[in-house]
């Protein structure tokens, strides 16, 4: 059964890999599953056909035979459940890796999303300059804790897992802010994630959509 995901025909980030289809592409590359991409426009994701697949009018979606999923974390988890390579076999280690998936999206990502919102949606508001440092500090307080836990390990809990895939993906959103550079072990963790061949293929594939050039692979 072929796997079909959706992605923007033109990503808001111009192909810097921050649109969430990159997370799903990365997971599929890690487990060696081929996939097709159906490109959608900003207008199309708000129309009934897409909303039937994704009630919040976002990308990516995931279709495989009778199964249709939305929500990036859930799609990455589904891929990791179905195919070897992203979750440990040992039950306890597996539960801990899944814990990091949830920590990525529910503890680390919310303040990062708030920082993005402050910049994108409130950048022109009179309070922006005074408020931004408060929002940044809320991000920092989480990064400090994450940095302390990671310490000098390569990955969050043993071998690379779907938990790392999600955490690296979430942290990538901070790249341009410069905040990550304050935590050298997190910056190195991010670099390890980006150096994975599967990430590179995923990044190249989404970039090719945005530049109109087919990836060389």
């Amino acid at each position: 059964m072929s796997i079909i995901i959706t992605a923007f025909e033109r990503s808001p980030d111009g192909g810097r890999g921050l649109a969430r289809d990159t997370r799903v592409r990365w997971a599929l590359e890690e487990v060696g599953q081929p996939y097709e991409v159906r490109l959608v426009s900003f207008r199309a994701i708000k129309e009934p056909a897409h909303l039937a697949l994704h009630p919040f009018g976002q990308i990516p979606t995931y279709e495989e035979g009778d199964l249709a999923l939305f929500e990036t974390g859930a799609i990455v988890f589904h891929i990791a459940q179905r195919h070897a390579g992203l979750l440990p076999v040992d039950a306890n280690a597996r539960a801990r890796a899944i814990t990091w998936m949830f920590a990525a999206v529910n503890t680390i990502e919310p303040p990062i999303l708030e920082l993005g919102t402050a910049r994108l949606l409130e950048g022109d508001k009179p309070w922006h300059n005074e408020r931004l440092p408060l929002v940044e500090d809320r991000v920092r307080s989480r990064l400090k804790q994450l940095s302390a836990r990671l310490d000098d390990a390569d990955w969050l809990d043993g071998a690379f897992s779907a938990g790392d895939l999600m955490m690296v993906s979430v942290l990538l959103r901070l790249r341009l802010s410069g905040i990550l550079d304050e935590y050298p072990n997190l910056a190195a963790y991010l670099a390890r994630g980006e150096a994975r061949p599967a990430y590179k293929r995923a990044f190249a594939a989404q970039l090719a959509v945005n530049t109109g050039k087919p990836p060389t692979r």
Copy 2:
């Protein structure tokens, strides 16, 4: 093997059920698993012994023999994986229920957290009154989509699942804002969640901690 969770000895909400141990208690009640609670103070959660269990210095944590987990969504998922009653047996239906767990914490909860942050941490800022409606509208845009998807169904996808448990728990945080009343089917969905015997037991148990009265059960 006995299950031990952590909860605040005094919850910031005074026992209104919004501290996240309620989500875990509810899941354990749904699957009929007994559990013990280790109460912790605001000070203790920032100390090394607790940080070893929970790197972000929060509650709840979950211990069961050799296994130690943190992050509410992951704990609820672990409980749902291990015991019947919170996830469908059919593989596709199960994947869809897990999708709603992630949607609860990564799509619906972030703007709700931002609203809480605006009130709790920025309520005294000069921009508060002008900014609050913007934050509320970001919550509304998600609720509108969720309301459209739920339509007149009882639960998000077939029978009650861990996805509904997480979604109801996230929406409960909006109770005092009055925003939920703008979406009658979501308000009714919440009421259905709260009417479940397992939720009532979980709520009573956390309330008893905060009032100092043992639950009657």
